[in-house]
Symmetry: C2
Subunit: 652 residues, 2 copies
């Protein structure tokens, strides 16, 4: 939000009692819920989370982004969401760009960016929405779509009139307050509504006082909280906040912070917002206006000191940042303020979606551990999540994944970079082994390039995988092409920085897991080893090729829990399972990634492409679970025994 | 079964293909099931279990009982079922006494005894049923009732004709084969059907060969297996078995073993069955006919050696015992044969019901740990069991328990014995403390009487409770009247003889649990202790009085898992929970037992009765869970701290 014309309407405020008492979706949440509640906040709506922070005095922040202009920009923005999500924002918001077809299905639309943030990045998200120059039907359509996608929060704005002249439409949406009323009228209490506040008064308002009254109207019409326009001095906000309280505005008011990040962006913003930059700031900036780094450093200093003043005032617990879609300055400010969560507690071992429908989700197959967005995509039509799904007799019925082009499923790296990492030209299967080995070891490949991702892992090694690095490197060199693994854990505190998750005071457990592709010769030896007395009751295996030929010793197609946690006053949580049924869906995806993400980098008929195609056609996908979680992981010994058998086949 | 007239019908055998392919209930079981399968047999029907034993060569036994004559006899028989069930019979069967109104709801009827064995004792049960002198409607009615009660197996018999003359009815049920056909016709594959075989031929048959043909007709009509009439020499059975095979009878044939237990019972049996006792047996018995112990010893020897011959033949894996409702001889024979399971593996920490509807049950509140029959009774109307019930948002809606008179819920001890244990006359609350203390310690009370049960515990201390004996004794002396407890367990093997359960290769865990009644003065001190920093996050508590005044620190009414197990290739099992909602149902039952089982032993208005009534009206029921299962149980320290506070109230 940069500029939001205020309401000049004098209509009497519609009274609304405490929002938490009405609304069918909201009230359900307070009853005994169907799955163990690990994280109370997961079941709360945004206004409740905010209220909880205000009550407890815990400091928090939120982040504003605008939709990207290009498809590549969208891919980048989503990985920025993932990275900045690590810092633990209470929410993010996505602005509404009327010129960019904001309600459409384009990957750059406001609607789709917000959808991705909620569903695929697991971020509590506010979607901005403007109302002027739109029909009631258009607006209702946008709101219905937002609801359908799982969005729960709207920032209700007027938006800029088209052209110079501003004409009020009778019965139309002339002001933000009209949109607030419309949302409450049509959607009752479903959405949390945010409105804009202007610490200096709206530039079009008759007066500062008149603008305050308009703000109060918006709140009375049903807004749950206020985010302010940017300002340059903490006194400006604190005075505004007192004035709001004086006229009876009691909802949370979140100050909007604009870190100065460059000369031109500041000038443009000032022009749009019609704000005046204080003289003391101008005096610092003008002399360094061509030195971007210097301006950014100054901006960071300025923001940090202003934020400190706000937090120290005791009137502010949350800060809203206008990021301009950039990462560095905001992250630095947050870290210096100490409100960036360096080690955010994982609520579950995997990234939780913020869709209200998925709040009961508490178990997933381990196969998608590195591809959570794909898992969410393929299960989006599921009506319920386990308990429910994984204890159910019906097959999980995953949606197909043919949509590798979807921007939130695409690799973050462009083709040229992938080729540098995975080889411009492959000589043999061994070239592929080397790529896997370099990914694990972190050593550069022959061309001196680090391999930071694989088709199955778009991110560097997880911290817990690092624990297994040495052994993984060894087996990958030998053509055991690992794509997923976890160490066994026998009751570490849930606060453990590497393997912990869930609320504090609990204990987490894991069975050792290893998943890899390998050749059919290796499979023959591996199977002999797995069938020896030493392992047959201890290790569960699933072995499958691209044609679905399947070898397993799993009993009765039952899921095997491989991650679980015990918490005070709770049922057992078992968030990750090895499920034989879903493994068959995963294998389609895992094999397809060889072709979709790797083979297709090369010309058709090229030797490189044929090598990948050969692996796709002939290798097996294997998963192994060592059920003896209190003992030393035996899977490395299984590998050793297999290699030994391959070396001396006649001796066995 | 003592005497079963055979079929003389020559009707062609109705052909029936393999039973396992038809039948809606049966086929469902093979699909992926809704709860983790711990014990494959739990989901199998009797014929499958039997087939599995035949295939594996594992030896097994089964036990035959007849319905009791009196209500007291029924109470005794049910506790005999519980005790003999410990030995691990593959099934028991209950004979059909036409004279005893066998299909009625009387506690002594065949139907109700079989119902109790299945539902309350968790025993796979065959109900005998005879057909002669009954209408089709009567028979169908009995079968429908059996099905409704969860009975799955019928022994189809003709029964004795009334009076001396035997008249064949056209269209009627003249022979067992008619009943077999009727069951298959009306109930398809729902029931497993057993029929009787006569190793010496039926006394009414034209010939041994003709009798074999009649047996084959019964099998062809749909019988799943055969149990034989008793015999005195192993050769008799082995020859019979070969003859059966020779004419194409391929179903299992189980030899019926009759341990001679007394002179008169042998004579009566021989008269009914029209069998001849071999000379060598007569010669031994006649001289000792007045010495019961000697005859029983001889009978045990004889049965052991005959059973050994049968098992050694390689043709027999299971033995069926005519117990005559007695325990000693049969148990001794089984122990000497080595087929009595001294330490039967518990499939779950609590006794599993054998009702087909409850096969998915895998979690219960810990409160009913010592009253499993009451839990089953109160939840019999539940359509589903968890996952389902305990993860569900609705309250469990327990049936009320006002039926303390029900024979399977009654104390095994008569009033006089209870008075001796619990005090002919109580002096004060301290007299009650003493009763509890004696129950825990095993020491005799003032009258020199051991206290072997309490209203909440009809059995002596469980093995795992014994681990806590010393501390329990101490706190009971001080008026902490414990009725339920378990130690914490941090990953013991599932085969542990005291705390183990479930299949081998797993690990079991427990949180320490303590449940007790105590005075309101103690509660005040206890609550102060529980709210100290040391315990507030570690110990969950529920404290309630008879009026339902309730104090708890449990979050969101969620169940707390207090027993769980991790097994190879399985999901986590959490069979026991402390559930805040069901605790309010349990407290009604727990408080009512003071009155129903204890106060009512005394005259109205008597001081003893008033003491119990006072406790009922004023004490609180408390449960405590120590969530820190890997550390030393802190609940004893909680008690210590409470006592200390009570001793020096001013210091705190």
């Amino acid at each position: 939000m940069v500029n939001e014309p205020h309401s000049a309407s004098n209509g009497s405020a519609s009274s609304r009692s405490d929002g938490s008492s009405s609304g069918s979706e909201g009230s359900k949440d307070s009853s005994r819920c169907s799955t163990p509640v690990l994280d109370a906040e997961r079941h709360e709506r945004l206004r409740e989370k905010m209220r909880r922070r205000y009550d407890s005095g815990d400091k928090w922040f939120s982040l504003e982004f605008f939709p990207p202009r290009t498809a590549n920009g969208a891919v980048n923005l989503i990985s920025r969401f993932d990275r900045m999500g690590m810092g633990g924002p209470l929410f993010i918001d996505v602005t509404w760009h009327p010129a960019g077809d904001p309600g459409s299905d384009k990957e750059t639309s406001s609607m789709i960016i917000a959808n991705t943030a909620v569903n695929y990045c697991g971020l509590e998200t506010i979607l901005h929405m403007t109302c002027c120059n739109q029909t009631k039907e258009e607006i209702t359509g946008h709101l219905q779509k937002a609801k359908r996608l799982g969005l729960k929060n709207i920032m209700a704005l007027r938006g800029d009139p088209i052209g110079e002249e501003w004409e009020e439409e009778v019965e139309g949406f002339n002001y933000a307050v009209d949109l607030v009323k419309h949302i409450r009228c049509e959607f009752n209490d479903y959405f949390d509504i945010c409105v804009a506040g202007y610490p200096k008064g709206h530039p079009e308002a008759e007066s500062y006082e008149a603008d305050l009254r308009h703000l109060k109207e918006k709140v009375s019409a049903g807004a749950d909280f206020i985010i302010t326009q940017l300002f340059f001095r903490s006194e400006t906000f604190l005075a505004f906040m007192k004035d709001c309280q004086a006229i009876g505005i009691t909802c949370p008011i979140v100050p909007g912070i604009f870190p100065i990040q460059g000369y031109h962006s500041l000038r443009q913003l000032v022009k749009l917002s019609k704000l005046e930059v204080p003289q003391e700031i101008k005096e610092v900036i003008e002399p360094i206006k061509d030195n971007d780094a210097a301006i950014r450093n100054y901006g960071v200093e300025l923001a940090v000191s202003m934020c400190r003043e706000l937090l120290d005032s005791g009137m502010v617990s949350g800060l809203h940042f206008y990021t301009l879609n950039r990462e560095v300055a905001t992250t630095e400010i947050l870290k210096r303020l100490g409100i960036w969560k360096e080690d955010p507690r994982r609520p579950l071992p995997w990234a939780v979606s913020a869709h209200p429908k998925r709040r009961v989700e508490d178990v997933r197959p381990i196969f998608w551990a590195s591809r959570p967005k794909s898992y969410i995509h393929r299960t989006q039509e599921w009506d319920d999540f386990p308990n429910g799904r994984w204890g159910n007799s019906s097959s999980p019925a995953f949606g197909e994944l043919k949509d590798y082009y979807l921007f939130y499923l695409k690799s973050k790296s462009p083709r040229e970079e992938l080729l540098k990492m995975w080889g411009e030209e492959l000589m043999s299967e061994e070239s592929v082994f080397e790529v896997f080995t370099c990914y694990i070891s972190g050593e550069p490949n022959r061309e001196g390039q680090k391999v930071t991702c694989l088709p199955w892992n778009d991110d560097p090694l997880a911290a817990e995988t690092n624990l297994l690095k040495e052994q993984l490197e060894k087996v990958n060199r030998r053509g055991i092409l690992t794509i997923n693994s976890q160490p066994n854990i026998n009751g570490k505190p849930s606060t453990d920085p590497i393997v912990g998750w869930g609320p504090s005071g609990g204990y987490v457990f894991q069975k050792a897991y290893l998943e890899f592709f390998t050749s059919s010769e290796n499979i023959t030896a591996l199977l002999k080893v797995l069938k020896t007395k030493k392992y047959e009751l201890r290790v569960n295996y699933h072995i499958v090729n691209v044609r679905g030929e399947n070898i397993t010793n799993a009993p009765d197609l039952q899921p095997n829990a491989v991650t679980w946690g015990i918490f005070p006053g709770r049922e057992i949580i078992q968030p990750t399972v090895v499920d034989p049924v879903s493994f068959m869906y995963w294998k389609d995806e895992a094999f397809a990634l060889w072709i979709e993400q790797w083979a297709k980098l090369y010309e058709e008929e090229s030797p490189s492409r044929m090598i990948i195609q050969y692996i796709h056609d002939n290798y097996y996908l294997v998963n192994l679970v060592d059920n003896e979680f209190p003992l030393e992981n035996c899977l490395w010994q299984v590998m050793e025994d297999t290699f030994e058998l391959l070396n001396c086949p006649t001796e066995q």
